[in-house]
Amino acid sequence: MKSNHYNVVVVGAGFSGLIAAAAAAQRDERVALVSTGPGSFVLGAGWLKVQDLMEPSAPLELGGAIGLFREMTRLAGYPFMGQISSARSLPGIVGELQSVALAPEVLWNAMPRDGASTLIVGIRGLTCFDENFMAERLNEQARTMDSVCTYTAKQISFNRDLGMPVTTVRIAKCFDRDPGFRPELILALRQAADGFDGILLPGVLGLNSTAQQILELEQEVGCPVCEIPTLPPSIPGLRLFHHLERYLRAVGVELYRGFPVEKLEIHDGVCTELHIASPGHALILSGESVVLATGQSSASLLGEACVDHDQQMHPTNSNGSVVARNLYIAGSLIDGDAGIKGDAMDILTGYRAGNLAAATRGTYASR
């Protein structure tokens, strides 16, 4: 049986797990991230709402956490615009304007602009997105805001067979892998956009695109091109996930992808091993510290034992004692304090847990 030892092992690759791994990697050499896949990113819009997350006790920590998140996206070539303290109104999936604090440029620039005439482009066969619906909704909202911006809908189609119905993933993969697809798309957009100030598309512009690549596309089309979130699978969501993972790989975090942790070995108040349910032989990892960021669906890893957590982010059981001294929890695995939950909270708790986990390196006996 193969055993791999790390300073910090993080389980779960949602917002909280990715940030925890990044935070730990800033201090420690040997960090591992175990996950089953992109998880919740496939459902999210690919932007960040901070909403009413006003942390009275540690505003600086939130700044630090979001700062690290922005650093990750910047270095991955997919920087996030905006600030914690303000928000922009961006078109959402039901054609309503949502209050968003941070987003990549390709989403960030979709904000309604007074006096602008915007084209909403739908793609024939992509039934999860209706450009007429979107245009009607945004025009309606522009009217209520006494804005003079207008939205017009048009549909483009491609010669190639994209299947029926067409999915966002299919188009995004063509965008990434098929060299002939981008010129076709650019031509179609350029023709359609004649006379318009900008284009809004459903989120299909590739699973791995960088900001630079999208900028180049805009230059060829001749006007700004932005995305609107769609039904899952969310391409902007998956794109963000890929970029964050790339950052982690680049800073030396070891990624164990594809199989869940099925068991934690806890002895004398120390988590000694993690057993990963990989086929063939069991994969066993150990970490001086372990961060669990596995989300609501994997609460059973800790069993009924875990009911709460302490100030040090250790999971605690019903009589208030710590489940394991080197174990930390982050993300939606924690019941939101006063009902505050969401991606920003996940980033904050992941940052905290990752830093706490890294800070205790060397304190406990390792195998």
Binding site: A45, G95, D130, F133, M164, P229, P232, Q296
Partner: protein, 542 residues
Amino acid sequence: MESTQVVIIGGGATGAGILWDLSLRGIPSVLLEQGDIANGATGRCHGLLHSGGRYAVKDPEAARACAVENRIVKAIAPHCVEDIGGLFVQCSQDDPAFFEQWWRAAEAAGIPSSRLSAEEVRELEPNLAANILGAFTSEDAHVDVFRLVLANLEAAARRGGQFHTYSKVRSIRLDGGRVREVHYCDTRTGEEHDISCAFVINAAGAWAEDVAELVGVALPVVSDKGSLLVLNHRLSHRVINRCRKPSDADILVPAGPVCILGTSSIRVPSPEGLSASPEEIKQLLHQGDELIPGLADARVLRIFCGARPLYVPPATHASGSREISRSFALLDHETRDGIGGFVSIVGGKLTTYRMMAAAVSDCVAKKLGVHEECTTDKVPLRPATDNKAHKRAIRVLPLAVAEKIERRLGPEVDRVINAIKSRPELAEIVCECELVTRAELEYVLGDSTLVPTQTIADVGRRTRLGFGPCQGTFCGYKAMLAGYQTHRWTATQAANEFSAYLQERWKGQAMIQRGKQVEQLDLSHELYGMNPLVPADWRRAK
């Protein structure tokens, strides 16, 4: 002014059954329902077509009625029933004396059953607990309650019966001690209407007391809440009943790709605003786990509550709700209260809806001087589909989808087939759990259906869209777009419909404590930018 002979108040199984019965006898009738079809107890129950076994010991009259009606419903509405059969399992924790009592009582009530040994049970249902001692078989089945009510309404419509959903009765005008007119309003538009009639049948279930009050009659109806959980797997092949005195959480009903566990029995002051407490849910899961180990860890998709309308005749004294008879009462208010033309039907069970409808219809027909006998036990609710329809369907759709759509639409299936032939993109599957195609969506939202659709939730009741794991979060969006694209709704109306739909679906998931469903729920809130209905402390109660 609208005019008819009989107004039926209440669009549950009983009301719909009465409309069909009266239509068959040629008596012009109009049904008024304040919500959509099966708004009350009918739409919030297990969906169990009882064999009668559950009542064999305690309520033999109800048991006998169930046994008879069980077979009739299967014969007249086979497309609404999953005839999977049932088991009354003998758990080692339960009283063995009861098992023999049950066996004798079932025989006495004419309930077909046979004995199975522990090994035989385990072979049939491998998920059952290892300590099951044996079981009795039964003719229990799963009935799609919405499909059943729809079938009655459609059948009635074909014979001239009329109905209005989203229509709430506001007042009933009497003249000379007789019913003359019903005044109702459209709950969606606020429009008011009058309809003149000779008879009013109060089939309003838990609201029967309110309706009776409109003519100044006291009709005490007790609301008894039952909570049910929908679990994300078909954990058994058959209906599983616990062979013991009726208690909580002793029935598990497979319903398509999911199963429904229930139920509880708690007096509540009103049929509205029902919810299940965390303790109640925990109890249900704990009890269910005794039947099927591991059930407590299953993914709960939805929690819903219904109010059983129980009628307590003035002379009886019943200690608890489970003691009140499940048989029904037909009240002729002319003799009882001096109000002519007003009749109430209260109590009863979903399984005996047809019998209840027959009793009322016999009474009213006699008073109207109509001599037609009841034939609802023999006439199928839907004409049979011709064989060629299946061949036509599988030419345009995959087999599994074709089968589902034939079952749902019956003779109307050709509308969908033809639509797909002219526009192949309509074959797209919008709801993957229940295999609902775009074509079916457009049909249901369009003008050619016998039962009109007003909201996305209505679409769900007609097609089962949104009844699976996503609970409509994703397929509901596509249904919204379909309503917009067919010009049923403007973009803003569509967005509002969807918002209302989501809030309703989320209500049923808000009571779930933890797990994958909660996670998806939170993520959907983020995606749709909507605030969840539920205050934070709901979920933190551990």
